[in-house]
């Protein structure tokens, strides 16, 4: 097999796995947007906050230690214990649920029936608030996150592909694990929304608020539920990206990568988020591989946005979004 084709295959595989992570972030947006019509600008910061909290809990860091020390003149930083990864993840899920409740109780409950733009502005405020809260609770240094996920080149794939093609594929173990986990998470979310009572209620609320009320669904409860789920998705995304490149402010910028994914997939479609993520992941890697050097490199920085722009021009509802029909 020609070497160029082998390269392309390897690049495609890597692209698919990056795409799964994009899809994961986009999924958090879709969950909230479907159920409440809120475009949650804070989704990326939620991932940062979740990852920060996870690291903080694992390392036994005292939350708000700078604040406490500053006010009381003490010098506490750590509890002196280490929490195992699995338990720390559970605790972080708990924190994200509390956050979801607080967001609903103190922000969006007061904004029911407001214009979408106002809800959107509120999420921008929420993003800045969370960013500050994250700094205040856990500090702003770059942290490493290790919950025991395997990292480094997968030697089996390297060896097998070398034996087959005479060229070993470089695939990171973390990418494989991340893809598998993301795929499982998506499957679980779909099953949850299709086959459980809460899932049915979630879909009902996404469809029609008034009708949902009339069959005894509490909108508040469902909104807390979807914000919790979005928080959980953010945590998973935060773990993957945090393990890969450290937990730091730039983690919150992955939300920006999710925007083109949403343009492609549509804001209201879970399958759309997945397919959109994969297309962008593969597209940007292949584009860089094929045309990158001709265009001066670093095309990955803008490829997704240009693709999204093209979609906005020719198919604004995305691949799977609800059709926009103008009635006259």
């Amino acid at each position: 097999m020609p070497e160029q084709l082998l390269f392309a295959m390897e690049v495609t595989l890597n692209g698919l796995m990056a795409g799964v992570l994009y899809a994961l972030v986009a999924l958090g947006f879709v969950l909230i947007y479907k159920a409440s019509g809120i475009f949650n600008f804070a989704q990326g910061v939620m991932a940062l906050f979740a990852a920060m909290t996870l690291v903080g809990i694992m390392e036994g860091q005292v939350p708000f230690s700078h604040l406490i020390n500053g006010v009381l003149g003490t010098d506490v930083h750590h509890f002196g214990w280490h929490v195992p990864g699995a338990l720390a993840i559970l605790l972080t899920v708990g924190v994200m649920v509390i956050l979801a409740w607080a967001v609903q109780r103190f922000v969006f409950r007061h904004l029911v029936n407001q214009e979408p733009i106002i809800l959107f502005m509120a999420t921008i405020g929420l993003a800045y608030f969370l960013e500050g809260l994250s700094d205040l609770m856990w500090g702003s240094e770059i942290r490493t996150l290790n919950v025991g996920l395997p990292q480094g080149i997968n030697e089996t794939i390297d060896r097998v592909t070398y034996d087959l093609f005479g060229y070993g594929f470089f695939i990171d173990n973390l990418d494989i694990v991340a893809s598998v986990i993301a795929a499982l998470l998506v499957a679980a979310l779909v099953a949850f929304s299709q086959y459980t009572k809460q899932g049915r209620a979630m879909r009902a609320v996404a469809d029609d608020h008034q009708a949902a009320l009339s069959v005894g669904i509490s909108l508040n409860y469902i909104w807390v539920l979807v914000w919790s789920l979005a928080g959980f998705v953010a945590l998973v995304a935060g773990i993957m990206w945090g393990t890969k490149s450290g937990v730091q402010f730039s983690l919150s910028l992955i939300a920006l990568k999710a925007l083109p994914v949403l343009m492609l997939g549509g804001f209201t479609s879970i399958p759309g988020a997945i397919v959109g993520g994969l297309i962008i992941g593969v597209g940007e890697k292949l584009f860089e591989f094929l045309l990158g050097s001709a265009l001066g490199g670093a095309t990955e920085n803008w490829f997704a946005y240009v693709l999204a722009l093209l979609f906005l021009l020719f198919r604004p509802q995305g691949l799977f979004g609800e059709k926009i029909i103008e009635r006259v």
Partner: protein, 272 residues
């Protein structure tokens, strides 16, 4: 006059029980506009009770008060012998009051079966963790509720569209699906907001038959709003007549028909 504490027997021999719902001196305002002024009436167990009146009489507002979408400024709402505190629509639904809407509020993206199953939500009690792992109680509960949903679907003769997304159905069938969803809740009181609005004669006849059958078969107490006088008179046991937010008549269809105020309201005598 009827005695409030005891029931009565209808012309066709059905036994009607004591009051399920009592509205006492209800007044509802929107800013300075009075939508309902000091109205009292009751709905008895097992009866079909109609609220009629010309457009803008306040019928829908009254239904929205009963189902908790509006909270009246004055008056008391009594349900099954207890005074009801102001509550949210979903809490009212959980008490056993199901409703349909004038402009159909279905879950358009979901299948007919899923829509009807949402009607069962108030009867499903297993927690979110049981639901998430989908074992034991959650599974048994789903099966039991599914059976009831299927029974309602059979009863309203919509088996053939069970799996069809609601968005694809014609208007008349949507109305029927909405009735099915309300009925699936096995409500103690069923509220129908203009169940026949926008239907042709044949669809109206079907809907009338279903309403009578539901009342007959399950003994469901039904309160309905309609401005088509003919339909109401045939269907209902007792009728409340509203005009300009006030009650102008209350009684059996025959009593109401001969009430001078009602005749004036419908024929459009000038108000002084």
């Amino acid at each position: 006059m009827l005695d409030a504490s005891e029931g009565y027997t209808t012309a066709d021999g059905r036994k009607i029980g004591g009051p399920v719902m009592e509205m006492k001196n209800i007044t509802l305002r929107f800013g300075g506009v009075k939508a309902i002024t000091d109205i009292s009436f009751d709905i008895r167990e097992g009866e079909i009770r109609a609220i009629i009146g010309p457009n803008g009489a306040g019928k829908s507002s009254m239904l929205n008060v009963i189902s908790g979408f509006y909270v009246p400024q004055e008056g008391e709402v009594w349900f099954r012998g207890a005074k009801r505190a102001p509550m949210k629509p979903y809490e009212v639904a959980r008490q056993g009051i199901a409703r349909t809407f004038q402009n159909i509020a279905l879950f358009e993206g979901m299948s007919v079966l899923d829509n009807v199953m949402t009607g069962r939500l108030t009867h499903m009690t297993s927690g979110i963790f049981a639901q998430a792992i989908w074992k034991g109680k959650a599974e048994a509960e789903e099966t039991a509720n599914r059976e009831i949903a299927e029974k309602v679907i059979d009863f309203l003769e919509i088996q053939h569209i069970r799996k069809t997304p609601v968005a694809r159905l014609p208007y008349g069938l949507k109305k029927r699906v909405e009735l099915a969803r309300a009925l699936a809740a096995e409500p103690k009181l069923l509220l129908l907001d203009e169940p026949m609005a926008g239907m042709n004669v044949e669809e109206k006849e079907d809907m009338s038959r279903f309403i009578l059958d539901v009342n007959d078969e399950f003994g469901t107490t039904i309160a309905l709003i309609e401005h088509d006088m003919g339909v109401v008179m045939d269907l209902s046991d007792r009728v409340v007549v509203m005009d300009y937010g006030k009650k102008i008549g209350d009684g059996t269809p025959d009593e109401v028909r001969t009430n001078q105020d009602v005749i004036d309201a419908y024929l459009g005598v000038a108000h002084d």
